[in-house]
Symmetry: C2
Subunit: 247 residues, 2 copies
Amino acid sequence: MASTARLTVLSEGLKTACSQCNLQELCLPIGLSNNDLAQLDELVSVRKRLKRHQHLYRTGDPFEAIYAVRAGSFKTSIVQEDGREQVTGFQMTSEILGLDGISAETHTCDAEALEDSEVCVIPFAKLEELSRQVEPLQHQFHKVMSREIVRDHSVMMLLGSMRAEERLAAFLLNLSQRFTARGFSHTEFHLRMTREEIGSYLGLKLETVSRAFSRFQERGLISVQQKHIHILDIDGLHAIVSQHTAL
Amino acid sequence: MASTARLTVLSEGLKTACSQCNLQELCLPIGLSNNDLAQLDELVSVRKRLKRHQHLYRTGDPFEAIYAVRAGSFKTSIVQEDGREQVTGFQMTSEILGLDGISAETHTCDAEALEDSEVCVIPFAKLEELSRQVEPLQHQFHKVMSREIVRDHSVMMLLGSMRAEERLAAFLLNLSQRFTARGFSHTEFHLRMTREEIGSYLGLKLETVSRAFSRFQERGLISVQQKHIHILDIDGLHAIVSQHTAL
DNA sequence: CGTATCCTTGATTCGCTTCAACATTAGTGG
DNA sequence: CCACTAATGTTGAAGCGAATCAAGGATACG
């Protein structure tokens, strides 16, 4: 009976504690003292679970909180009237979602779970309040926003001046690096998104993505089996990315 | 005599006062009380002048301040070893430069004046300090950062899913809208950047930009004379941007 | 006033998209 | 648990849009 009661709570909210979280070192709380962490625990008190394909927020939703991915993964995208979408990012554990909403107090993109996932809800007004008191938190939050800007710039670079294979190689290397930071294998992983979503993110059609995967496999750079990726020659991938830079 | 002395000061720094600035309503101080503004005046005490083609900062420079464009305009770009550049943005008066540097405490792009320009120097550590005390300032700063993220997303959209003419039309409309906000004509303006820089920003070659301008002119949408642009049919431009969306 | 920079325009090439058919996997209900 | 169907992924052939190559012209700047 306790378990059923708990399940109900789980579906909507569950006590969180940054101080207990193993993602601490990658997430918003980097560099906080134990005392500061305790204050953050107060603030980030609710988690939210989402099933695959469920939306965390949609364009136009009022902005109230930002979110830290605790488990699973998401995509953010801008959807146009005709239904075509531009994927603007893929977020994995410890990454922050919702920063787009601050400027207009309304979300400007959709955030959708790519698998069953869980986020920590960080009420924004409270975050601003606490970060006025806790300097390291303030600074860390600014860094998080700035990192998003830097990331966006490198996507612009990718979209603006790389060819298809370069884009895909850069994408794989980026994933690999992020998996590594989370303690997973940097040579073997599972894609959570479809070819179409990858294509949208990289400014390519899904057929082009598929073909590029096949060519990488032919050349022995990776082995692909649907969504399972095994990187066999990471230097080879790096060489592809920097080839347009070499001479 | 006083004037010569003053000129020397001008070359490096000049007393600024947000409270006296006519860009107040577009810039960081939006929504500040007179009292808060006075505090901001203390902080933003130095201006910096730059000649055309001079760099405000370069990739790798230590990050110490952000900048508000007071006069003139800038481009930011990521430059690769081979010298090829990806322009990540064009900034005009009241827009903020340097946010990319917060994350790694090092600038991650180059910022170059497109014409003789002037910026207000906002020492970042002091800005964080003051924004811990002045809530509206804190909030406004967060909005500025968020706006940059939203802008970047729309550039991704542009680069990822629009064709050449759509990109250029969107670019012209964006400029028009920004000029309007600054009290200038929204149908007639001077481009501060070259075709190559526009191309880099839009992920196109300069020849493609030039051809698109010519085609717009042929169709009576604009009149172009080198860098001077006259928009004749703003709805026509809008139609081009949204054509890929209309069915 | 001369020279470097920037812009325009044409012809050709190339890479990605489009269209199409089929294969595979995942998800659903009987 | 299997059968069926929808979603996803692969591969080929043809078409198209932008890049590339090339030459000439306009403009701005020292």
